[in-house]
């Protein structure tokens, strides 16, 4: 067993406490020190750096949180999580899984199934599998595949790893890591160079006190500035614990999704409400990314290839913004983007939440994502389609695309053509041509301009065919995640 040489003193009075492998520790690090850097420089070198960008999962650790008296584990990419964000949590690494009685089921099965070759990705896989074991997930292939969607292995071809996961999830296992007592000495949250306000008024206070500090939610984009471009953040304001931003509330006709709600939480919330969205979410990032990344972050970074905006455009969502002095305003998602990586968000504003009209979920919807790889890949084209009508005639339509322009865009021109029409070959070719005229996408590393334009046409055609019942859903037929 490797023991850890933890920092024992906190000269700046940061007083950040957390638990690492069952041991309470106090941490004093700069705001942008990642959990991976912290672990590795304190003797826990079992957790590896493969890419430092959240794409390979070699750095995966398990993070336990006390939630209503119960311990829930999630996996995160420790390479892009500031250690300061993990205040009060229990980090478990590959070194901390085994005990006197032997290896953890995830480790034991990885050995038995020959799940490691070079071994470098292995600790990350072990943690992803272990988190599923700890959370009592079912022994299903899809569950295992989803759980390791953010772990790359270049040696094994994955078959033995998936087998190890299936075996581990099928075993009887009594965990010692579920003990709430681990959390008794930890003081949450961090009030040092990572500020962790717990409610909106505290968030606003922090924004006033530290006007230059960047807001961080999941950090899955922001932290690349540190790990890839070697920028330094002196102070961060973490919005991921702001109670109001973390919740999903509903009124009679609206769902209000807090900006800090993660994709994983969205998957759970929409499981019975929108299968189309859930299918998309399974392809949006990896499990580790979805455990951290938030809906608000997806909007705030202004990316033209973000996957949520086209969906939200179709659903007619409104973005709720709030200033540090508490002034709120609602902006239609259609008006949220001003240009390439530019939004209407002002320097002293934050995204509080996204309002979605409930009735928009009743319409026929299809969300298609085109990418080179099925899992954890950035879209070359993201198409969102919403139709009303009786299957042959369209009474209302909303169409939006990502990856086709400098911002996510809606296509009212196409919607106008479709409404009142019967779906037939002529209509398909008419809207196909119209899309080609309306959009001029670009060529980049992900796709050529021509292919993007062709995909916009094909996606619309397929959505209309599925709406009219000509085609079965592609997710079923190609198994692009169900």
């Amino acid at each position: 067993m490797i023991t850890v040489n933890y920092h024992k003193t906190c000269p700046n009075g940061q007083d950040l406490k957390l638990v690492i492998n069952e041991q309470a520790v106090e941490v004093n690090e700069s705001a942008d020190t990642t959990a991976l850097q912290y672990l590795r420089s304190n003797g826990l070198t079992g957790t590896k750096e493969g890419c430092a960008s959240g794409d390979c999962g070699a750095c995966t650790v398990m993070v336990g949180e006390l939630n209503g008296g119960k311990v829930q584990f999630k996996t995160v990419n420790s390479c892009i999580v500031p250690i300061g964000q993990l205040a009060g949590m229990h980090i478990v690494t590959a070194e901390g899984l085994a005990d006197q009685s032997g290896l953890h089921p995830a480790q034991d099965e990885m050995v038995a199934c020959h799940g490691s070759q070079c071994g470098f990705c292995t600790p990350g896989f072990v943690m992803s599998l272990a988190a599923m074991v700890e959370n009592g997930d079912p022994a299903k292939i899809e569950t295992v595949q989803q759980g390791i969607s953010g772990n790359l292995c270049r040696c094994t071809g994955y078959r033995p790893i998936v087998q190890a996961g299936m075996n581990a999830l099928g075993r009887d296992y009594e965990s010692r890591l579920q003990d709430p007592a681990f959390f008794k000495d930890t003081k949450s949250p961090s009030q040092g160079n990572v500020q962790q306000p717990l409610n909106e008024s505290a968030l606003r206070e922090a924004m006033v006190q530290y006007p230059k500090a960047s807001l961080i939610a999941g950090g899955t984009d922001l932290m690349l500035e540190v790990t890839q471009r070697y920028q330094h953040f002196e102070r961060l304001i973490d919005v991921s614990r702001v109670m109001e931003l973390r919740s999903i509330t509903e009124t009679q006709d609206t769902y209000c999704i807090g900006a800090s709600v993660t994709y994983t939480e969205l998957e759970r919330f929409f499981a019975q409400r929108s299968q189309s969205l859930v299918s998309l979410l399974h392809r949006l990032g990896s499990r580790q990314i979805r455990n951290c990344g938030t809906i608000g972050g997806n909007l705030a970074n202004g990316s033209p290839i973000a996957d949520m905006p086209p969906v939200l455009i179709c659903w007619g969502a409104t973005v709720e913004l709030c200033t540090s002095s508490g002034q709120t305003r609602g902006v239609s998602i259609n008006e949220f983007y001003r240009g390439y990586r530019q939004t209407v968000l002002q320097a002293d504003e934050y995204i509080a939440g996204i309002r979605i009209p409930k009735r928009s979920l009743d319409s026929f919807a299809r969300f298609y994502k085109s990418s080179k790889r099925i899992e954890d890949d950035i879209s070359s084209v993201m198409g969102a389609f919403l139709f009303q009508g009786d299957g042959s005639e369209i009474t209302a339509a909303r169409i939006a695309f990502g990856g086709m322009a400098a911002t996510p865009v809606s296509l009212p021109g196409i919607e106008d053509i479709l409404v009142g029409k019967t779906i037939n070959k002529r209509l398909l070719s008419e809207v196909g041509e119209a899309i080609g005229e309306m959009m001029s996408p670009m060529t980049d590393v992900r796709a050529s301009a021509e292919y993007r334009a062709a995909m916009a046409r094909s996606m619309l055609e397929r959505a209309l065919n599925e709406f009219s019942g000509v085609s079965k859903p592609l997710v079923m037929e190609l198994k692009l995640h169900a």
Partner: protein, 779 residues
């Protein structure tokens, strides 16, 4: 006298299985899962450690007009800054020829080429310091594609040809001619552990270099040459790599040399680790190839002549491209007999990073031309592609390769027919034809492809290996050998070989770090030959000691040597048995040498580079794969639904490890041919420069139904336990996926047309192949 360790105290040495032929776990498996397996970056950092980063060229080709590093030197944390003029020895770190400079001198030849290096107290500070450099260039014209290089006749090495008979005449008089070209993109290794070296200065004015390298001896030699010191002053060590795949054969050396240079200059330990993006920009990859072929065939699709031109994008220097393009040429026949042929191999010089070894070493680039051609022929003559393949296989009497070696083990027909039978090729083909008739958009594709891969380094001198074996007085066994462990299970197999040769239990044998001061002058662990070479060397060492033990026991008990048997940790002579440990103790007391070196050189091989004829390979490893795909004609998206593999590893030393190599190699090959798109922009910049835009397969991409069977036939050549090499060959089984995708695309022309489809077959590429098939109309 010192007390010898009591046997009973030596726990864990009581098991008796040597493990030969068993599916033993990887020797480090438990250390892998607990995080205890140590990689170079995990070694406890010395307190005086410095970290290295480099400043890189931002243009593809030009002269450096001015280089101002003042701000770099003054930057926070910087301890030392060097340029090429600071190299005391030879700044050229090329593996074979010349041109790979440790740092650029007057001219830069690719974007990302290191120009200067910084040592600082942390990696972050070294990286930030590099951004402070002011560099002015005079830009020169850049050559970026094989087509441009061919037009300019810009080559890193001369063009070579294999010629057999009059191919032009044969093609001209053939019933049919197929002709096509195919652009085959390269591949980023994406070993999970990036390149890294740690250099520790020694009291002898040398260095101890610990690096993630497939070739510690070359690291040692180049470090000595850069520093201008003797090779014996450098110890080079590799315990394990977090993946290599060829990417750490030649590419690791420059990091070791740079770190060592800083270590000597500053008298401090130095670590040079490439962050992922630097690794993806700065180190060589699999070559792009531009392949053109023309074949004459009979009405039945039997080849009468094949002409091929294979143009490899080598990048700015030769690196290992001589052998890589050679191997593409050696495999341009894959498994098929070409009665007449001309194969030309071009080594194109471009202003891109110098490409290097990658699992298959050019072989896949030649094979894909052959497989593409088989499908073209099948569509031309209207036969099932499997029948055309079977018809053209090497066979007795039709067995001479384009380079003169005769194929002696004709096992592929049986393997392919067995696989086709076991996996229902014919029924599935019919079902797919029916499915495709009924579906407008969704189509299925099927392909069964063979591989025949030549085993041996084509540079004959590299086919040698050494080992060093000790037995200690407690009976524990320690083996070193020249091979390196990169996950392929070499150490495990070597321990199995030693245990089985000695007649002792597997647990008794420990394999430790590969070090140049244990086994010198070694070859890279490459060419799939790690076990073949080092296994034989280890066996040779074990046999020497075993012979000494047997002679000792025989003389001790007055028996003849052939009456002594060592087996299951016991030594038997004339009905009496003694424990191995007791015999070892007695041997020591009687001054029997319990240490031995082993050596091996591969027999039978020779090759004349000038004539292009010879016997370059000891034997061939074979395999066959059947892949099925389903494709969406509207978007080009697809899934690989089923893969069945039958592969030839001879006698398997360790079936679990061999199957792991086959599955892993297949998926890696599938990535190369499907999702992994290595792209440059038109200024020569690698734009697939991170895992965010270069996508290797995930677990979800692995076929739902994925079966691997071993074809259990002992190698007829005298290899270690009649096994066959397994490292590279399975990668090329993935050609079946590419062929199946093209088969599905061809269905849109009712199989009348063989649509062009370059690699990787991304959804975009498949979409355009489908479009071409849809547009096809017979004249």
């Amino acid at each position: 006298m010192r007390k010898l360790t009591d046997n009973e105290a030596g726990a864990g040495l009581n098991s008796v299985a040597s493990g030969m032929g068993d599916s033993l776990s990887h020797e480090s498996a438990v250390k892998h899962v607990t995080g205890e397996a140590q990689y170079v970056d995990d070694i406890l950092e010395p307190v005086d450690l410095l970290h290295v980063a480099t400043g890189q060229s931002t243009i593809a080709h030009g002269r450096i007009k001015s280089l101002n590093l003042d701000a770099v030197r003054l930057a926070e944390g910087v301890v030392d800054v060097i340029t090429v003029s600071d190299v005391p020895g030879d700044p050229d770190v090329s593996p074979v020829y010349t041109g790979d400079m440790i740092l650029a001198s007057a001219e830069v030849v690719y974007i990302g080429q290191p120009i200067f290096a910084v040592a600082a107290i942390s990696l972050e500070l070294a990286k930030r310091a590099c951004m402070q450099a002011k560099i002015e260039y005079e830009e020169l014209e850049a050559v970026l594609t094989p087509q441009q290089a061919l037009a300019n006749e810009a080559f890193v090495l001369p063009t070579r040809s294999f010629v057999k008979g009059d191919v032009d005449e044969a093609i001209e008089s053939a019933d049919h001619v197929v002709e096509a070209q195919l652009y085959v993109r390269g591949q980023e290794h994406f070993y999970l552990e990036g390149q890294i070296s740690l250099a520790l200065p020694t009291e002898d004015g040398g260095v101890h270099v610990i690096s993630s390298s497939q070739h510690p001896s070359e690291v040692q030699k180049l470090v000595a040459s850069v520093l201008g010191i003797n090779i014996h002053q450098v110890q080079s060590e590799t315990r394990r790599m977090g993946g290599g795949f060829g990417g750490k054969e030649s590419q690791a050396a420059v990091l070791a040399c740079t770190a060592s240079l800083f270590a000597i200059r500053n008298g401090r330990s130095v670590k040079y680790r490439l962050p992922r993006q630097d690794d993806m920009v700065q180190t060589g990859k699999r070559h792009d190839f531009w392949n053109r072929y023309r074949a004459g065939v009979t009405d039945q699709g039997v080849i009468v002549g094949v002409q091929m031109e294979l143009a490899g994008l080598c990048g700015c220097t030769a690196d290992l491209s001589e052998g890589i393009v050679d191997r593409a040429m050696f495999h341009a026949d894959n498994a098929y007999y070409y009665p007449t042929t001309r194969i030309d191999g071009y080594r194109c010089k471009t202003n891109t990073v110098s490409n290097t070894a990658f699992r298959g070493f050019g072989g896949p680039k030649g094979m894909i031309a052959a497989e593409s051609m088989m499908d073209d022929i099948a569509r031309k003559v209207g036969r099932d592609p499997l029948d055309v393949r079977l018809e053209n296989l090497y066979a007795p009497g039709r067995d001479e390769t384009p380079y003169g070696q005769k194929v002696e083990q004709h096992m592929l027909r049986d393997m392919m027919e067995k696989l086709a039978g076991d996996a229902d090729y014919r029924d599935r083909r019919n079902a797919i034809l029916a499915f495709n008739k009924e579906n407008a958009d969704l189509r299925k594709g099927l392909a069964l492809t063979p591989i025949k891969f030549g085993i041996s380094f084509t540079s004959t001198h590299l086919n040698q290996a050494g080992a060093l074996l000790h037995i200690y007085t407690d009976g524990s066994v320690h083996i070193n050998h020249g091979g390196t462990e990169m996950g392929q299970g070499l150490y495990t197999k070597i321990a199995q070989v030693v245990a089985s040769t000695l007649g002792v239990s597997y647990e008794r044998v420990m394999v430790s770090s590969t070090r140049t001061d244990k086994v010198p002058n070694t070859s890279p662990t490459a060419a799939s030959a790690g076990t073949d070479l080092n296994g034989m060397a280890a066996q040779n060492a074990a046999e020497k000691i075993k012979r000494r033990l047997i002679e000792f026991v025989a003389s001790d008990s007055g028996a003849r040597s052939n009456e002594v048997l060592i087996e299951n940790d016991m030594v038997m002579v004339r009905g009496e048995s003694r424990s191995f440990d007791n015999v070892i103790k007695a041997a020591y007391m009687n001054r029997v040498q319990l240490s031995a070196t082993g050596f091996y050189k591969t027999p039978k091989i020779h090759f004349d580079k000038e004539t292009g004829k010879g016997h370059p390979f000891f034997y061939f490893a074979n395999g066959a794969a059947l892949s099925e795909v389903i494709v969406d004609g509207l978007t080009g998206e697809y899934r690989v639904s089923q893969v069945d593999i039958l592969h030839d590893v001879g006698n398997s030393i360790n079936p679990a490890i061999d199957i792991g190599q086959i599955e892993g190699g297949f998926v890696q090959g599938m990535g190369w041919l499907t999702t992994e798109e290595l792209l440059w922009d038109d200024t020569g910049r690698v734009i697939s420069n991170s895992p965010a835009n270069y996508k290797i397969p995930t677990a979800y991409d692995v076929p739902e139904k994925f079966s691997v069977q071993l074809y259990n036939e002992p190698n007829r050549e005298e290899t270690i336990y009649q096994s066959k090499a397994v490292g590279e060959p399975p990668l090329m089984l993935a050609l079946s996926v590419w062929c199946a995708l093209r088969d599905a695309a061809a269905s849109f022309s009712d199989y009348k047309f063989s649509p062009p489809m370059n690699t990787p077959a991304t959804p975009e590429e498949v979409y355009y192949a489908i479009s071409a098939a849809k547009e096809y109309s017979p004249q």
